[in-house]
């Protein structure tokens, strides 16, 4: 884990991603970026900005609309010793890559008994909000968490975005890298030098005593906002960010939940057979004296995501619903409470820069 900092340079998540890739490409000739529009003027919402100018079109390679074949190409190139970063502007599009990712990338090292490696990164963005709708907003991380041979990471802040990306590029396994679009312009203190954020190590972002709340991807930010609201109601919430989902640091989560006695997992995904189900199961399997008394999960409403904001507002967990649920779990005998709407509005503006 890198050194934490509470001073230094503030950098946005998107710029941190770009910097990670730039530094790795400068360090290692075998690293290259590939994907639709990685070299255009929008530069994947800024995350590939300047790369094609610096490294040329062979190392920042645009592709046709051919996710299936391009994933295979990345796998073959990785087997030959290159280190591809395959970029998809929406995680929904990974569904076009499933045969290659799951039948080949995940399995090649095992099936061929260690004689090949597939060191590739598959970056993709979760849409959310502003009418992205059913097919431009999904986070499908739980599908990939299910598969031995894949790694899955979902950094929630700029510091981890850079460190996890560097780690993912250096990892000799296929890594599914999950980026939430709304995190792109959040800032935190990001060291200028190169550093790795170790996969399989969760972080306790804020310590607390009354309830453990685990947030995944941008839900970490929503949980931090909920934690502020809960403070005003006298509840001390401990916020844990797993950072990587496979490998998953269930030990840290379980220890926190044993301490507080209450565990709420808030996922940017459906709860059914989702990441939250995996986390709760891992904790539930512990011996009785190491389990929390109360467990619950929140995620997308169990429906397809609607486009209209009138309905979309009810689709995702938000700081108000998270705080209300946590309060109910922490004060089961108390009357129901929801945060003051004015306070909730202010909470939305709060930015968390670190230290991380």
């Amino acid at each position: 884990m890198s050194t934490q900092s509470n001073a230094g340079r503030l950098l946005s998540y998107v710029d941190a991603l770009q910097e990670a890739v730039d530094q790795e490409m400068a360090r290692d000739d075998s690293v290259f970026v590939i994907g639709l529009d990685v070299d255009d003027h929008k530069a994947i919402q800024g995350s590939t900005k300047g790369l094609v100018e610096k490294y040329g079109p062979e190392r920042v390679m645009a592709t046709p609309l051919s996710e299936d074949a391009m994933t295979g190409v990345c796998i073959g190139a990785a087997m030959a010793g290159l280190r591809p970063i395959h970029v998809h502007i929406r995680m929904d599009f990974l569904l076009l890559c499933m045969n290659q990712l799951i039948n080949m990338a995940a399995k090649a090292h095992y099936m061929y008994n260690g004689t090949v490696k597939v060191p590739m990164v598959a970056r993709s963005m979760i849409g959310k909000s502003w009418g992205q709708g059913a097919q431009h907003s999904q986070s499908l991380h739980s599908m990939f968490m299910h598969i031995p041979g894949l790694k899955v990471v979902a950094p929630s802040n700029a510091h981890d975005a850079k460190g996890c990306m560097i780690q993912a590029i250096r990892d000799n396994n296929p890594v599914i890298f999950v980026e939430h679009r709304l995190l792109y312009f959040t800032e935190s203190y990001v060291p200028e030098e190169s550093y790795e954020v170790e996969l399989g190590k969760a972080r306790t972002v804020v310590e607390g005593t009354d309830i453990t709340i685990v947030g995944i991807s941008n839900m970490v930010v929503e949980c931090l906002r909920a934690q502020e609201l809960l403070k005003e109601a006298g509840i001390s919430a401990e916020i844990v960010d797993p950072i990587s989902l496979r490998p998953l640091d269930s030990e840290t989560i379980a220890q926190s939940a044993a301490k507080t006695g209450k565990l709420l997992v808030v996922d940017n995904g459906w709860t059914g057979a989702g990441a939250s189900a995996e986390i709760l199961a891992a904790v539930a399997e512990r011996p009785a004296d190491q389990r929390p008394e109360v467990m619950a999960r929140m995620g997308y409403a169990p429906t397809t995501c609607p486009t209209t904001p009138a309905l979309e507002d009810h689709f995702y967990p938000n700081p108000v619903t998270i705080a209300a649920k946590a309060y109910e779990m922490a004060r089961p005998d108390g009357r129901a409470w929801t945060p003051d709407p004015q306070a909730a509005k202010l909470a939305y503006q709060k930015q968390f820069k670190g230290p991380f």
Binding site: A69, A78, L82, Q100, Y110, M111, Y112, N113, V116
Partner: protein, 318 residues
């Protein structure tokens, strides 16, 4: 077409004989249940792999299919470890974890096979992309069947290979069947080479079942592919003599007739080349082949099964 030398004939016959006899032995042993894996035998089709691979260099790479025993052996794959792999033993080329459908031999440039049709095509192209960057003129030869040409990934792959002038030669073993379905049920038009040609990829059709013709087709394009002209495509007609998967014949199953087999039997490249040799040369090669196969069977028998601790090795790379 260049006249094959006696050396060429000897070399090609040896490999055809090795593959044929290996496959026949696998078929013979299969009912004993020593082979712990579905087998998709190359019998009848060996000449496509043998002829196509013959002009390659040792440091070129070959992407094989799940009907890959012929290509594996023709590229220099180890017969002992192939047999042990089929037996599910620790001494197998993949420690028993792959079986017949996922043979691999990275040390001799055999990329691992996939059991899912078409999957290995873009992977071979990705390797070719790396070879292009390397700039030493190495090529990737990628085998596929006629069924694979229907998968969407085939079109995606051709387009990308042509767009980036990848050093790849795609060899399609067209045996007319995707499992039991003939072209008439699957193909709107019988225009495979024309489809490929729309990407400006040079194509060659080899309909005559002749190993020298396959070899010549590769020779014709190889220098250009190495030089960076872009990929090439070869369609070779062939016929699968046994059932889709397994050791037996299936002409009484109803989807094809034994009479279709007859012209292929009569034209069997292994027999045709054998007849070009002296009796002594042929007998010597045949004896070598039997010895090699017997050794492989002994090797497979003697190799232990992997221990239970092997279940959890290589899930992730270090």
């Amino acid at each position: 077409m260049s006249r094959p030398s006696q050396d060429d004939i000897l070399r090609l016959y040896r490999m055809l004989r090795l593959v044929r006899r290996t496959e026949e032995e696998i078929a013979r042993i299969y009912p004993s249940d020593k082979i712990k894996s579905p087998v998709h035998l190359s019998i009848g089709q060996e000449f496509v792999s043998v002829g196509a691979i013959d002009p390659l260099n040792a440091d070129d790479v070959v992407g094989i299919t799940y009907r890959g025993h012929a290509a594996y052996l023709a590229k220099g794959g180890n017969l002992n470890t192939m047999m042990a792999e089929l037996y599910g033993k620790a001494g197998g080329c993949a420690g028993g974890k792959a079986g017949s459908m996922h043979l691999v031999g990275m040390d001799v440039g055999v990329l691992g096979a996939s059991a899912v049709v078409g999957t290995s095509i873009p992977i071979g192209l990705g390797y070719a992309l790396a070879l292009k960057r390397e700039g030493k003129g190495r090529v990737a030869m990628i085998f596929c069947g006629d069924g694979a040409t229907e998968e969407g990934v085939f079109a995606e792959s051709l387009n990308f290979a042509a767009l980036h002038k990848l050093p790849a030669i795609i060899v399609c073993e067209n045996n007319s069947y995707a499992i039991h379905a003939p072209h008439s049920k699957r193909w709107a038009t019988d225009k495979l080479c024309e489809r490929v040609g729309t990407y400006d990829i040079p194509t060659q059709l080899v309909p005559n079942g002749d190993v020298f013709s396959v070899r010549d087709a590769v020779q014709d394009v190889l220098a250009g592919v190495r030089a960076g002209d872009g990929p090439a495509f070869i369609e070779a007609h062939c016929y699968r003599w046994r059932e889709h998967v397994g050791p037996n014949e299936d002409f009484d199953a109803g989807y094809r007739s034994r009479k279709d087999l007859i012209p292929w039997l009569e034209n069997d490249p292994m027999a045709v080349l054998g007849a070009m040799l002296t009796l002594e040369d042929r007998a010597a090669i045949d004896m070598d082949v039997e010895t090699a196969i017997a050794e492989a069977l002994d090797f497979a028998e003697a190799s232990p099964f992997p221990g239970p601790e092997e279940l959890m090795t290589h899930v992730y790379a270090e």
